[in-house]
């Protein structure tokens, strides 16, 4: 039986810029940052959810040919690479205000949806991120 999600992956074309964003602006902490052959194995997690890591994977050789990596980067820049991260928060308006102040590119302001209050933003590369303050059942 599967018990939980341990690692989620998203593609990032620049791992240093990804760290600036996910750690510097969103509040993640680095869990693993090590050379793994030609690849840099880089994972981050939220302080309140240390067991769920996000792998920040750079598409490139030898895992992906340069042609395929270019296709992946193309999709990221069009917002079509998938791997959306959906976060929970205790206070959507406060989190939104903090992110806005840090220069995060907000795509949708906080709106009360019935199921909760949510807002959206993009990472510097084009990946879509969503934050919800769910109503208590």
């Amino acid at each position: 039986m599967l018990t939980r999600i341990a690692i989620t992956q998203i593609f990032v074309p620049d791992q240093d810029a990804a760290l600036d964003f996910y750690v510097g602006k969103l509040g993640f902490e680095v869990r693993t940052d090590q050379a793994f052959g030609p690849m840099r194995f880089l994972t981050v997690a939220l302080p309140d959810d240390p067991g769920h890591e996000v792998l920040l994977e750079k598409p490139g050789p030898p895992g992906y040919s340069e042609e395929v990596a270019a296709q992946v980067r193309d999709l990221i820049s069009k917002g079509a690479a998938g791997g959306h991260l959906f976060f929970a928060t205790d206070d959507a308006h406060k989190t939104h205000a903090e992110f806005r102040q840090r220069g995060v590119e907000i795509t949708e302001e906080p709106v009360d949806r019935g199921y909760g209050i949510d807002f959206g933003f993009r990472d510097p590369f084009g990946n879509h991120v969503r934050v919800s303050q769910m109503k208590q059942p």
Binding site: K78, E105, G126
Partner: protein, 148 residues
């Protein structure tokens, strides 16, 4: 060299995506090409061509279909009048709204309203998937539970 071309094209895509996000967020405003081109940091002539190359349709058509998608939702999920909805989603003339709606959806707004309320879904999901393609009738599957 291939890397440099690819980086330039990714940067261009990213700016087009910023303009597309602005249309998703500010569809109710009178968004014109100069405004969108400024958001994307490109010339007006370049903007239309580049947007189309990235997303397969002109910015005008993208915005029209976004407005129609929002109108479809409002028709089915609220009691607002057709005229109010026309203005809510950014059309300035009821005649244009009715014509574009019919052309894109395949039926007039008043007929579409009779399909009844849409199942609850997160707004981002609805906006991604309910924007009408403009070449097909409405297809529907049974309702599910609301999720973020």
């Amino acid at each position: 060299m291939i890397g440099a071309v690819s980086a330039a094209s990714e940067d261009s895509n990213r700016r087009m995506l910023r303009a597309r996000d602005a249309m998703d967020r500010r569809y109710a405003e009178p968004l014109d090409v100069p405004t969108l081109a400024r958001i994307a940091h490109v010339s007006e002539a370049h903007f239309i061509r580049t947007f189309r190359a990235a997303f397969g349709e002109t910015p005008h058509r993208y915005l029209q279909r976004r407005r129609v998608e929002r109108a479809m939702w409002l028709l089915r999920c609220t009691d607002r009048t057709v005229t109010d909805i026309c203005m809510d989603v950014g059309f300035s003339s009821l005649g244009t709204f009715s014509r574009v709606f019919r052309e894109v959806v395949g039926e007039p707004p008043s007929v579409h309203r009779r399909r009844g309320p849409l199942p609850p879904a997160p707004s981002c999901f609805a906006m991604a998937w309910l924007r009408p393609a403009g070449d097909a009738a409405v297809s529907e599957k049974p309702a599910g539970a609301p999720r973020p």
